[in-house]
């Protein structure tokens, strides 16, 4: 059994495998062509095992730092896996597996339609998976840039998959925003290199100081990343892109890709440059988040197409993520509520990832049953795809912040921090956001539950209905079994108060 304990030792070079495995699958998918889904047989268990290994390692040994090729920084690239990385890696594995399984009927060997989309889908999906994992394990700012670009390219290509003019336009708009964002990020990286001579996040953490240039670099980088995370007012590309993409792609985009740039913002301000954050900047971020919540929700209420409702919901929900900055960041780190605010924000990201993926996949099933996604054509769809509608409802729980979902735990943690720190206005925003989410989600849900003749709808394979249910159930389970993830997230967190709620 020594090989097993050896496998669990932290200096084994399996950390790069997290990126290499999906990348290899992406490369292999090209020659495999229409048999590409076969790769899932190897990829899914292997990546799943790696994710479990990551969590086990972090849980028992703490934060893992690995120098690729044995080269230490500043020449080499470091990979770091802490609690935050581990949960994101696991969530990515789960969502990507779900999306892949969901897409089997449409893009697998049985598909009868156009083959180019089926051909392109698998390498793009696997490459996106690799890019996501790369973001979550990289400890070097330039490595993150490369990973971000990989994500952008695969995401844009997936958006444009069906080739219609409107989606091509949406993809181009996305590409413009994303590339401009990358350039801004690069500019900040250049500044930081100029000041510190290293881009390694751990090195920056040690040598960072509240210098004006550092703050300026951070702000520029964050602005670029905000464009990729679609925070108000840089959100305009998201609704057309996420609603124009095929449902599995939308799931990956809304659930994971926008979270990757958010992850980098977290790394930047909580790990690399915590001392450089000014209170005004953090309040600005949260204010933009608050506006995003209200703006996105109001626009979601006005839509008549289901995919657009879900896309605007993403715009709104991403706003919640930024409310954690003034509560947990900057000088607040030493406060007793910082831990719950930070964990609450991450829980929100995770709950939203699983719930939104479930929602988009459920919507995909509903559209297949009804033929299109206009709301008036979806009346009574619960008689056609009852499990998918149930999954939609279950996922809505998380988005509305109602118990027993992960979204409720996140909301509760953020609310207590907001009130404990005296910044009660964020609490008001969160409550209002929850009510607005209920308004724009119960609208399609009611319509789906109306009376209708089941024979009007095309039957949808059971697999495509149960996968969203499984993902939605995950978001609920995150709310019930939340103690362990909470503890896991504290591993490797920036030193500060790790106390819980008062």
């Amino acid at each position: 059994m020594t090989w097993a304990t050896g496998l669990l030792a932290p200096d084994q070079p399996w950390a790069p495998l997290l990126v290499a495995t999906p990348l290899a699958a992406a490369l292999a998918a090209v020659p495999f062509g229409r048999r590409a889904p076969l790769l899932l047989v190897a990829l899914t268990p292997f990546s799943g095992a790696l994710a479990v290994l990551a969590i086990a390692q972090v849980w028992s040994h703490g934060e893992i730092v690995y120098h690729v090729g044995g080269w230490p920084p500043p020449l080499g690239i470091t990979l770091r896996i802490d609690g935050l990385s581990a949960v994101f890696i696991a969530t990515t594995a789960l969502v990507a597996t779900g999306v892949a399984l969901f897409s089997l009927p449409k893009y697998g060997r049985q598909s009868k339609g156009e083959t180019r989309a089926a051909f392109a889908f698998w390498p793009l999906l696997f490459a996106m998976w690799a890019g996501l994992n790369a973001v979550f394990v990289s400890n070097d700012l330039f490595n993150l840039y490369v990973a971000l670009e990989l994500l952008t390219l695969t995401a844009v290509a997936l958006v444009a998959l069906d080739g219609k003019p409107k989606t091509i336009a949406a993809a181009i708009r996305y590409l413009l925003f994303a590339l401009t964002g990358s350039l801004a990020y690069l500019l900040g990286v250049i500044f930081l290199y100029g000041v510190f001579g290293s881009l390694d996040i751990s090195a920056l953490a040690i040598s960072a100081s509240p210098h004006a240039v550092v703050l300026a670099a951070g702000v520029v980088m964050t602005t670029g990343l905000l464009a990729k995370t679609a925070l108000f007012p840089l959100h305009g590309w998201l609704p057309p892109a996420h609603s124009g993409a095929p449902a599995p792609a939308s799931a990956m985009l809304s659930a994971l890709v926008v979270k990757a740039s958010f992850f980098i913002i977290l790394r930047l301000w909580f790990t690399a440059l915590p001392m450089a954050a000014s209170a005004a900047f953090l309040q600005l971020l949260a204010s933009l988040g608050a506006v995003a919540i209200v703006f996105g929700s109001v626009l979601a209420l006005r839509q008549n197409k289901l995919k657009l409702i879900v896309a605007y919901s993403t715009v709104a929900q991403l706003g919640y993520l930024f409310l954690m900055f003034p509560l947990a960041g900057g000088g607040n780190e030493m406060q007793s509520w910082a831990a719950s605010a930070w964990t609450g924000g991450v829980f929100q990201a995770l709950a939203h990832a699983t719930a939104k993926a479930a929602m988009f996949l459920a919507v995909g099933a509903m559209i297949e049953a009804a033929g299109e996604d206009r709301l008036d054509r979806l009346t009574g769809i619960a008689h056609g795809v009852p499990v998918a509608v149930f999954a939609f409802g279950l996922a809505s729980l998380s988005l509305m912040g109602l118990p027993p979902s992960g979204g409720f735990i996140a909301k509760y943690l953020l609310l207590t921090s907001a009130l404990a720190s005296g910044q009660w206005w964020w609490a008001a925003v969160m409550i209002a956001g929850g009510l607005l989410a209920a308004a724009y989600l119960f609208r399609p849900l009611s319509r789906a539950l109306a009376e209708a003749d089941p024979k009007l709808f095309t039957p949808v394979p059971r697999l495509q209905q149960f996968i969203p249910l499984a993902l939605a159930a995950l978001s609920v389970l995150l709310g019930i079994f939340s103690a362990q993830p909470y503890a896991l997230l504290q591993i490797g967190r920036v030193p500060g108060a790790s106390e819980g709620l008062p």
């Binding site: 964990t343 109306a450 009376e451």
Partner: protein, 488 residues
């Protein structure tokens, strides 16, 4: 075992829900079997728990969600009262619902959410902390919405929309209150008293208003009550559940918990929020009855009667003194028994004789004598005529009002009884003493599932009143709770 019994009781309704959701629509026998098994299992486990508590055991289940955020299920005396009531009534309502919906559509969906509803009520009853209470309270909202919109027509959806709007806003208010309070005091457990004494009075008042407003929506306090009559479009078993066991009672139960276990009666009086609450409750009592008079639809009349009657519980909680407390708490049980009887009967009348309006009741007593007998007993109890149980609660409330120096309470009680008489007596008169207007005559007292539950609950209401001073009656139980737990 003592840690698992509470969660087991919860699971007896939660597991059936999960199974029933995925049952094909036409598997009636299996669905009925699972429903009844769950209900009977729950009643049995509750009896086990009662026996255990009587012999000195404590039942507590703790589960950590996040540091400082715990789910706590504990069987204290008040919890046991509520859970016994809901377990017993759930069994009867299940039997009734199976008979009522016999060939209707979407039964798997209905019974799935029905069971979830009861699971949520169990959680509310057993909740040991404010946040646990809130979690299950929210679950109740979510589980009842699909029941309200069950028929799927535009009226149902409009009612559902109103229901959601009211209840979700109410819960937002409640969440703010809870989080605010707990940010200053730490998690609030119901058995740990006197935590709030160091806090600022104005803050405490504002939080009290937030909490009561949130709970008041479900309790249908004026002016937060209009969702209740609108929700009458739901099938009768839903109305029965909503009005006697689950939603409205949960709200009232929550108010009782807040006043007795979170704030304490002394603090409520000291802050001066007790009297305004009593006023609002009294206003609701009178206003509900006045509006009930103006309804032609039987179910709507009963709905407004509920609005009025549940506020007796709130009135009892808001007034100082042991008698009003006892009166309010015991009305929780009595009103449950009487109101569920009335709704069972109303549903039977509408299903068998297609009677929806007051005018159509003529001569119903000849065609459905047992049902109308149950109806009459329950109605008399509502009015407050001895020996049915309603009289007992009103008596105690009146005495409590006198003792606390609030003589106007007597006026409110008297007015309410008069109004109750005004809108119930005509129904009884029409049913028994007027000849039936057409129709084919003949006895219509079947199926048994529609009739028997009403008779049982009416009997229970009668016995609760006649044997009110017997050792295990609701009244004695409540007296015991008040004396032991609140020392008043």
């Amino acid at each position: 075992m003592s840690a698992f019994l509470p969660i087991l009781i919860l699971l007896t309704s939660f597991t059936p829900a999960l199974i029933i959701f995925f049952l094909p629509e036409h598997w009636r026998m299996l669905r009925t079997a699972i429903n009844l098994t769950g209900a009977i299992a729950k009643v049995s486990l509750v009896i086990v728990m009662l026996a255990g508590v009587a012999s000195g055991e404590t039942y507590e289940f703790r589960f950590e969600l996040a540091p400082g955020l715990n789910i706590l299920l504990r069987a204290d005396a008040l919890a046991l009262l509520f859970i016994s009531l809901s377990a017993a009534l759930w069994l009867l309502t299940t039997i009734y619902a199976i008979a009522y919906l016999a060939e209707g559509p979407n039964q798997s969906r209905f019974f799935g959410f029905f069971s979830l509803c009861v699971a949520a009520t169990t959680g509310i009853a057993l909740a040991g902390t404010l946040i646990t209470f809130f979690v299950f309270y929210e679950l109740l909202t979510l589980a009842t919405w699909p029941l309200v919109i069950h028929r799927g027509d535009s009226n149902s959806f409009a009612a559902g929309r109103k229901y959601l709007a009211y209840t979700l806003c109410g819960s937002a208010s409640m969440l703010i209150g809870i989080v605010w309070l707990e940010s200053m005091t730490g998690p609030i457990e119901f058995t740990v008293h006197d935590r709030l004494l160091e806090l600022d009075a104005t803050t405490l008042r504002v939080i009290f208003v937030l909490l009561i407003a949130g709970l008041g929506v479900k309790t249908a306090l004026v002016p937060l009550h209009s969702w209740l009559p609108a929700a009458m479009v739901a099938p009768a078993p839903v109305s029965a559940l909503l009005h006697a066991v689950a939603v409205v009672k949960a709200g009232a139960f929550g108010i009782v918990r807040v006043i007795y276990d979170v704030y304490s009666v002394a603090l409520v009086q000291q802050l001066g929020v007790g009297l305004p609450l009593a006023f609002i409750a009294s206003l609701t009592i009178v206003y509900g009855s006045v509006l009930a008079l103006r309804q032609d639809d039987i179910k709507r009349r009963l709905a407004f009667s509920t609005v009025s009657q549940v506020s007796y519980i709130v009135l009892g909680a808001a007034l100082p003194g042991p008698f009003s407390t006892i009166g309010g708490l015991v009305h929780l049980v009595h009103q449950g028994l009487m109101k569920i009887t009335l709704f069972f009967c109303a549903g039977a009348l509408s299903e068998r004789l297609h009677i929806y309006k007051v005018q159509e009741l003529d001569g119903a007593g000849q065609r459905m004598p047992w049902t109308m007998l149950a109806f009459s007993i329950a109605a008399l109890g509502m009015i407050g005529i001895p020996p049915v149980a309603g009289f007992v609660s009103k008596w105690y409330l009146g005495v409590g009002g006198l003792q606390g120096g609030q003589v106007w309470v007597l006026a409110v009680l008297a007015a309410s009884s008069l109004l109750n008489a005004a809108y119930f007596l005509p129904l009884i008169y029409r049913a028994w003493f007027k000849p039936a207007g057409g129709g084919d005559g003949g006895l219509a007292e079947w199926p048994l599932g529609l009739v028997l539950p009403a008779i049982l609950t009416a009997l229970a209401a009668l016995l609760a009143g006649v044997f009110a001073y017997a050792p295990y009656s609701p009244l004695s139980w409540v007296t015991f709770i008040v004396e032991r737990n609140y020392g008043i």
